[in-house]
Symmetry: C2
Subunit: 339 residues, 2 copies
Amino acid sequence: MARTVTLADVAARAGVSTATASRALSGKPRVSREMIERVRAIAAEMGYRVDPVARALRQGSSRLVGMIVPVIGIPFFSQLVDAIEDELNRAGFELLLADSHGFIDEEVRRVRVFHERRVDGIFIIPSDRTASTQSLANLPEGFPVVQVDRATDRPVADFVGVDNLLGLQLVFEHLAEQNVATVAFAGSDDASINGVERWDAFHRLARQHSMTVRATYRSEFSFASGTGAADHIHRAGPLPDAIVCGSDQIAVGVISKLRELGYDVPRDLLVTGFDGGELARVFWPSLTTVVQPVSSIAAEAMKLLLGRIESDDGAIHRNRLAPTLELGASSQRRTAPAS
Amino acid sequence: MARTVTLADVAARAGVSTATASRALSGKPRVSREMIERVRAIAAEMGYRVDPVARALRQGSSRLVGMIVPVIGIPFFSQLVDAIEDELNRAGFELLLADSHGFIDEEVRRVRVFHERRVDGIFIIPSDRTASTQSLANLPEGFPVVQVDRATDRPVADFVGVDNLLGLQLVFEHLAEQNVATVAFAGSDDASINGVERWDAFHRLARQHSMTVRATYRSEFSFASGTGAADHIHRAGPLPDAIVCGSDQIAVGVISKLRELGYDVPRDLLVTGFDGGELARVFWPSLTTVVQPVSSIAAEAMKLLLGRIESDDGAIHRNRLAPTLELGASSQRRTAPAS
DNA sequence: CTGAAAGCGCTTACAG
DNA sequence: CTGAAAGCGCTTACAG
């Protein structure tokens, strides 16, 4: 490769100024059609490729987009990163990825670094509903940012996420068909908007379907949180007909713990998850879960970011995308014993 | 933030040339101690931060490192990305992440783009044992590259991965203790070196332990590949005492399919996985698996890359790190029925 | 130890 | 439509 051929080389060979060569290559107006063709042919022949760094310095933009996530290793987040990388790539951007480990200080620092690097925009999964507002505070007014999956309470940037209420509506309609009368909730705390909304939706829908709430438990989005929840719900008294979980990892933890305690899902009670993905399908029993429209969320996020990059227009968007329900074994009573 | 204060601003305020200011800030030799202190104080006071883009253009280096993976969304890969991002960050680099989707063309293209972006080095999980050699062919001689998890056959760059033979040794020793006499293999094909080595190790160790090989099945590293394997092994004749799998996803697929066919693991036969991680622990039965030393692999990869960045010394390294065996329920016969 | 000046590779007013 | 020149913000020989 030997990074060598430069705009000046191309211009020299074409016998024109670098100005003209630059215009011809970048499709700027005010260059003759034949000039464009000639310069492009020569550039192609010489294997010329514009230097992104020089261009970034000159234009103040880099075709780089940063993304900050609480933890890369969590399946749902890595799925999201995957989908967003595809979108970026299709649009000719490169992805700068950062892990905040859930610390606000880290979020703040990474946003600053990204900005200094002249990224054209930032995707962020805020680690905290309220504190994450700070992360964006140092950015100049109107800097393109899209919050993905989680929004901060204060609408400081565009947002795309799942419609939590709709997701739980699907769950409850399904549970109602299974004649569920008593329910429990195993979800996450108020740190993220999803924790808040799923919790609120759970109560609202239980009431609406006249189901009795037996017990609730809130902690994090993790397997361990699920085992803790099962323990708590078990100790709280008679088991409910169904446990509605705030994520698939929680659901898996709940079911594993119940098994340890001597209960079988779905024989003794039903369990549902939230997120969708491989875990839900390979787990035994397979999980009935609310499947997030990951690709659509990524596509929508990209659209919003491009919108901000191209024109810094006014109102802040907060878009909710519709999830679907995937039925698994975990919420369907077998008519006859399986074996 | 309003990206404004520049080196010139600092120099002006300090009453020195930008040359001196630059030297003072970057700790270059030949500046007086007091000059250094004065300039630094002023810079700090003004909130000056060096512009990485300008520096990159001038120095030809960017403090950016690229990483190319076959698919970000696969748990083991995202764990690796996570660990490497931590290492990079600690060393003051930013991560440029790309997904090749397993296509060589994409790999080639992303490597080229990274190089043009002036990354200081590249981590790559090659998608193919032989073809991926091409991806690096366009790089100038001595460009810092480290292959992670998978090596190409031709040693075109440093490599860090797991010691597959040792991993399967641990598995076989454990199976021998369980009095396993017949075994089957469910692994991946020859596309990656891990597929090759685990396959070879399986045969070598079966012979060594005088175990009879009942059936083998090779496809990809996926859940579906596991269900296919179970089907094949089941049809091939009497079931073996144990099925050794090339990854946890395969193991989970194998167990699920066996269950569907009416067999219970570990009651009817034992199953082991490879990789380690949450899936192995939350699955039911929990998986006995070879746990890859992900953090150590990342740390070692970083060390090799830094070595290449600092001095382009000679010999190519191919480092194998020792895994450990995590015992789960999937490979241990219960003395008495569980329920 | 410090400064004036060139230059990394582009893009873009400003003239013509 | 095209060119000469400035400049994005640094770093680094080259002098002194």
